[in-house]
C-alpha cells in the first residue's frame, strides 16, 4: 500500500507499545516485587523469595477472606446478571408510565460513592435490626452492581434487530420461548461480559463490604485491616498478583468456552465480542 499507511502503522505500533508499557509496566513491577525479599515494596530489589506466597497461603484469615469473597461474588454475579437483564429488557422494550423515573433510579447507584451507599445501607439494616452478615453484604452488592449489568445489556439490546423478536411473537412464541430461544442466545456475549464485571465489582468492593459486613470478612476488608501494619503489604501484593493471574486464567477459559460453544453453534462470537459486546 502507500507509504502513508505504512507510517500510520509504525505510529500506531509505537503508540500501542508506549501505552501498554505505561499500563502493564506497573503490574509487572508488582508481580516481580511479590518475590522481593523485603517487607517494603520499594527499589532496589533485594533478592528472591517465595516467603510472601507461603505466608499468604498459610494464613487462615487469608483463606477465610478469600473464600468469603469468592462465594459472595459467585452468588452475586449471576443474580446481578438475571436482575440486570430483566430490567434492561423491561426498560428497553416497553413504554410505560414512570419509565424515565425508573431508568433514573437504575442509573443512580452507578454514580453515588460506594462509601455513601455503604453507610446508608448500614443505617438501614440497623433500623430494621437485621444482623449484619455476608447476606447483608451480598444484598447491597446486588443493589449497586446489577444496574451496571442493566447498562451493559440495555445498550446491547437497543442495537438489536427486532425483526427476529417480532417474527417469534408473530409465530405465537410465548414470552418464555421468546427469551430462551431468541433473546438470550443473542445476548450471550453481553451476559458473559456482565458476569465478569459483576464478579470483579463484588470481589473488589471494600466500602460496602466493610460497612455492611458482620463477622465474616471479605478479602478487601481483610486487606485494608492488615495494611495498617506495613509488613503485611507484600503479602497483599502476593495475593493480589495471584488473584489477578487466576482472574486472567478464568477470563481466558471463559473465552475458550464461548468460542467452543460458538463453533458448535456456528456463531462467530469471540472474546472481543464477549468483553466489548455488552458496551456496544
Amino acid at each position: 500500500m502507500t507509504s502513508r499507511s505504512r507510517i500510520g502503522d509504525v505510529l500506531a505500533l509505537t503508540l500501542l507499545s508506549v501505552v501498554m508499557i505505561v499500563l502493564v509496566g506497573p503490574i509487572i513491577l508488582l508481580a516481580v516485587f511479590s518475590f522481593n525479599d523485603s517487607s517494603i515494596i520499594a527499589l532496589p530489589f533485594q533478592g528472591f523469595t517465595w516467603d510472601w506466597y507461603q505466608r499468604a497461603l498459610a494464613d487462615p484469615d487469608v483463606r477465610d477472606a478469600l473464600r468469603n469473597s469468592v462465594v459472595l461474588a459467585a452468588v452475586v454475579a449471576p443474580l446481578c446478571v438475571v436482575l440486570g437483564t430483566a430490567s434492561a429488557w423491561g426498560i428497553t422494550r416497553f413504554r410505560f408510565r414512570g419509565r424515565g423515573a425508573w431508568s433514573g433510579l437504575l442509573g443512580a447507584p452507578l454514580i453515588v460513592p460506594w462509601l455513601v451507599i455503604g453507610v446508608s445501607g448500614l443505617m438501614f439494616f440497623a433500623y430494621l435490626r437485621v444482623q449484619l452478615s455476608l447476606l447483608t453484604v451480598g444484598a447491597m452488592h446486588i443493589a449497586v452492581t446489577f444496574p451496571l449489568v442493566t447498562a451493559l445489556v440495555a445498550s446491547r439490546l437497543v442495537r438489536f434487530e427486532r425483526s427476529q423478536e417480532e417474527a417469534a411473537v408473530d409465530l405465537g412464541a410465548s414470552q418464555l420461548q421468546l427469551m430462551t430461544r431468541v433473546v438470550l442466545p443473542q445476548l450471550a456475549p453481553a451476559l458473559a461480559a456482565s458476569l465478569i464485571f459483576a464478579f470483579a465489582w463484588s470481589f473488589n468492593n471494600f466500602e460496602i463490604s466493610f460497612f455492611n459486613g458482620g463477622y465474616q470478612q471479605t478479602f478487601p476488608v481483610w486487606v485494608y485491616a492488615v495494611l495498617r501494619r506495613s509488613d503485611n503489604l507484600p503479602i497483599v501484593n502476593a495475593i493480589s498478583t495471584l488473584v489477578s493471574a487466576l482472574q486472567v486464567a478464568a477470563v481466558y477459559l471463559l473465552w475458550l468456552l464461548i468460542r467452543w460453544i460458538g463453533k458448535k453453534r456456528g456463531s462467530a462470537d469471540n472474546l472481543t465480542n464477549l468483553v466489548a459486546g455488552g458496551l456496544r
Binding site: 515494596i41 431508568s103 465478569i196
Partner: protein
C-alpha cells in the same frame, strides 16, 4: 431520586441512534409484561438503595441518629456551598478529574481504534491486559507508581544514567500530575472498552469509502470515526468521569500536599469528623452534579451524532 439525572435512559436512547421509522409494530404487547420483568429488580433497588439513600437524605437534613435529636435544617447544604474550603477542593477536583478524563480519552481513542482495526492477533491479549488492569488492588498499584516516579525511582534513575539530569526530579511524584497519571491508568479499562466496543460496531468499509471520496486522514477521523464513536465516549464519560470525583486511594497516596479531592472530603467528613449530615449533604450535591454531567455528555454525544 428524581434528582439523579437519567443517565441510563439517555444512554439507551442515544445508542438507539436515529429515530425508528414509524409504522413498526407497537411495542406494548401486554400491560402486565413490564411488571413481570421489572418488579423484582425495582423492588430490590427501592428497598436496598432508595430507602437507605432517603434515610441518608433525611440525615443530611438534620434527622437525629441514634439518641441524637432531630434538628431539621438545610444548614449542612448552605454551609457546604458557601464554605471556601469546599469551593477550593471542588476546583482542585474538577481540574484533576477533567484532566484525567481528557488524558484517558486522548490515549483511549487511538488505543481503541488500533485495537478495533489494526491489532489483528494482538486484539485478545490487549483486551485481556485491560481487564487485568482493573483487577489490581488500588493501594498496591500506587506503590508501583512510586517505584516508577519516585526520587530514586526508575524514571529518575534512567534519566540520570543517560546523563540527561544530574539531580533527581522531585516533581514527578506527590503532586497533582502524579494523581492525574495514577487515576488515568487506574480507570483506563472503563474508558477504552466502551470506546473499543463502539468502534468495533463501525463498518470498516466506511473508512475506505470516505478515502475513495478523497477525504484525508484527519477528515476521516473527525467526520467518520469520532461521530460514530460518540456513544462509546458517552458511556466512557459516564462510567469514568463521575467516579473520578469520588476516588480517594490515588490522591491520598501520591497527591502529596496538593491532591486533596472531594472523595477524600466525603471520607473525612463521615469517618474522621463523624459528621454524617455534612458528608451525606456533600454526596447529594455530588449526585446532582453527576446528573448534570451525565445530561451534558448525553447532549454532546447526540449533537455529534446528528452531525453525521
Amino acid at each position: 431520586m428524581s434528582i439523579a439525572a437519567d443517565p441510563f435512559t439517555s444512554e439507551a436512547e442515544i445508542v438507539t441512534g436515529p429515530p425508528e421509522p414509524t409504522g413498526r409494530r407497537p411495542r406494548v404487547r401486554g400491560r402486565w409484561l413490564p411488571a413481570t420483568y421489572l418488579t423484582v429488580p425495582m423492588l430490590t433497588l427501592v428497598v436496598l438503595f432508595l430507602v437507605p439513600m432517603l434515610i441518608l437524605l433525611l440525615i443530611s437534613l438534620g434527622m437525629g441518629v441514634g439518641r441524637a435529636h432531630s434538628l431539621w435544617s438545610v444548614d449542612a447544604y448552605t454551609t457546604l456551598l458557601t464554605d471556601p474550603l469546599y469551593r477550593h477542593v471542588a476546583i482542585t477536583t474538577v481540574v484533576i478529574a477533567t484532566s484525567a478524563m481528557v488524558v484517558q480519552l486522548l490515549v483511549g481513542v487511538p488505543l481503541a481504534y488500533i485495537m478495533a482495526f489494526k491489532a489483528g492477533r494482538f486484539e485478545v491479549p490487549l483486551l485481556l491486559g485491560l481487564v487485568v488492569l482493573d483487577e489490581l488492588n488500588p493501594v498496591v498499584r500506587v506503590y508501583a507508581w512510586r517505584m516508577l516516579l519516585g526520587r530514586n525511582g526508575i524514571i529518575n534513575g534512567a534519566l540520570e544514567a543517560l546523563g540527561i539530569i544530574d539531580q533527581p526530579i522531585d516533581a514527578l511524584l506527590f503532586n497533582q500530575y502524579a494523581v492525574i497519571v495514577v487515576l488515568s491508568t487506574g480507570w483506563i479499562t472503563y474508558t477504552v472498552i466502551p470506546l473499543y466496543a463502539a468502534m468495533k460496531a463501525i463498518d470498516r468499509n466506511l473508512f475506505q469509502a470516505a478515502a475513495d471520496l478523497g477525504a484525508g486522514w484527519w477528515t476521516i477521523m473527525r467526520r467518520v470515526l469520532l461521530p460514530l464513536a460518540a456513544p462509546g465516549i458517552f458511556v466512557a464519560v459516564l462510567l469514568v468521569y463521575i467516579p473520578l470525583f469520588t476516588d480517594f486511594a490515588a490522591p491520598t497516596l501520591v497527591g502529596g500536599t496538593s491532591g486533596y479531592m472531594l472523595g477524600q472530603a466525603v471520607n473525612d467528613l463521615i469517618l474522621e469528623q463523624g459528621d454524617l449530615a455534612s458528608g451525606a449533604a456533600l454526596s447529594f450535591v455530588l449526585l446532582v452534579c453527576s446528573g448534570l454531567v451525565a445530561a451534558l455528555a448525553f447532549r454532546l454525544a447526540r449533537i455529534n451524532r446528528l452531525e453525521t
